[in-house]
């Protein structure tokens, strides 16, 4: 954990803009856009698949909220939300994050791809492969319920009249 850049930033509270029990949002180091932020899990996790569903849910909620304020606060005219999941997707740090990138007129950022029409055959093949795996989608992992901590009951003195009343109840 000490080798992780993101864990270090989270711990130092450097440029943190929001934090909760499981989720931390901070200004991105080396930003390409004014107000670029990253929303990350407080607990170290390399990719999104290793983050519990309910924490992923909160990460997206926080990403949505911090991405909502950049319009008024910074004059952004759009936003991109991006998760780079795995080195093949360009993930830079070994700690999962949702990037929130405010967009401005003429910002020269090129975030996108060239769509190419897919062949009917390829689409059908991919669809059937995916359908096999998406059967399991939609059941979500929720936080474990915390045990209710009761304060230890104070000893009731034996001669207290209230305890005598209590013992009388059948």
């Amino acid at each position: 954990m000490s080798e992780c850049v993101i864990c270090a930033l989270v711990q130092q509270k450097k440029d943190v803009v929001f934090e909760s029990e499981h989720v931390v949002a901070l200004l991105a180091p080396q930003p390409a856009a004014n107000g670029q932020m990253m929303v990350t899990s407080r607990k170290h996790a390399p990719i999104i698949e290793t983050v519990p569903d309910f924490v992923v849910a909160e990460m997206f909620q926080v990403a949505n909220k911090v991405g909502t304020v950049v319009f008024d606060a910074l004059g952004a005219q759009g936003t991109n939300v991006l998760v780079q999941n795995g080195p093949a997707a360009g993930q830079r740090h070994k700690h999962v994050s949702i990037q929130v990138i405010p967009r401005f007129e003429g910002d020269r950022l090129q975030i996108g791809w060239n769509p190419k029409p897919g062949s009917e055959e390829e689409l059908a093949k991919v669809q059937s492969a995916l359908l096999e795996e998406t059967k399991n989608v939609g059941v979500f992992e929720m936080p474990e319920e915390k045990p209710i901590e009761l304060q230890e009951a104070a000893e009731v003195p034996q001669d207290d009249y209230r305890s005598k009343q209590l013992r009388r109840i059948p």
Partner: protein, 193 residues
């Protein structure tokens, strides 16, 4: 549902598409013009133009489904990673008037430019403060504090008690709701005109 919106019709099944997942809130279909094979579009059934218009429940659901679909893609298609991508507003690359989240299977050297270059755009102190304050207001939380270089001297106890009282959490929640509403109206105006 909006009568004019193609993606509302796709989500409801009125326009046929290559569906890979569906539940009561979202429909996921294959993009017919994919960035890579297996490129999925997660489309909410309710018409929402941009992400800020979505409530916390829907955002949470979309995020969790996106995670599980990413997992499904990695397993089913034997890819090395995924990109999960949203564009809010034309300037960000949004093409349709209906929110959608892209899940794009990735492989080394596939040439998809879904990354943010490393830059050095420094946010000025005033903007940073404004941003933090707005986030605190919207989430009903305390403004995040910067780490202090030196430890602050302990204040004498009686002085601490004199500190102005923080607003009650119920007030903060109401303020947060009002802030959310105000923000949303402005964003909707900006992004969907």
């Amino acid at each position: 549902m909006e009568e004019q919106c193609v993606f509302c019709h796709i989500a409801s099944g009125q326009i046929p598409a290559k569906k890979v997942y569906e539940d009561d809130k979202v429909t996921v279909v294959l993009d017919i013009n994919p960035a890579t094979p297996g490129h999925m579009l997660l489309i909410p059934k309710a018409h929402v133009a941009v992400m800020p218009q979505m409530d916390d429940f829907l955002v949470a659901h979309v995020g969790m489904v996106a995670k599980q679909l990413s997992q499904a893609a990695i397993r089913a298609l034997k890819v090395e990673g995924t990109s999960i991508f949203v564009a809010n507003g034309g300037i960000a690359g949004q093409r349709a008037p209906h929110f959608m989240l892209h899940i794009i299977p990735r492989a080394q050297g596939d040439g998809i430019a879904l990354q943010v270059p490393q830059g050095s755009v420094q946010i000025d102190a005033a903007s940073k403060a404004k941003l933090k304050e707005a986030i605190a207001k919207l989430t009903g939380t305390e403004v995040a504090q910067e780490p202090t270089e030196e430890k602050e001297p302990q204040k004498p106890k009686d002085k601490q008690e004199e500190a102005p009282k923080e607003p009650k959490s119920a007030d903060k929640k109401n303020d947060a709701k009002a802030a959310q509403k105000k923000n949303l109206d402005a964003i909707t105006e900006l992004l969907t005109k």
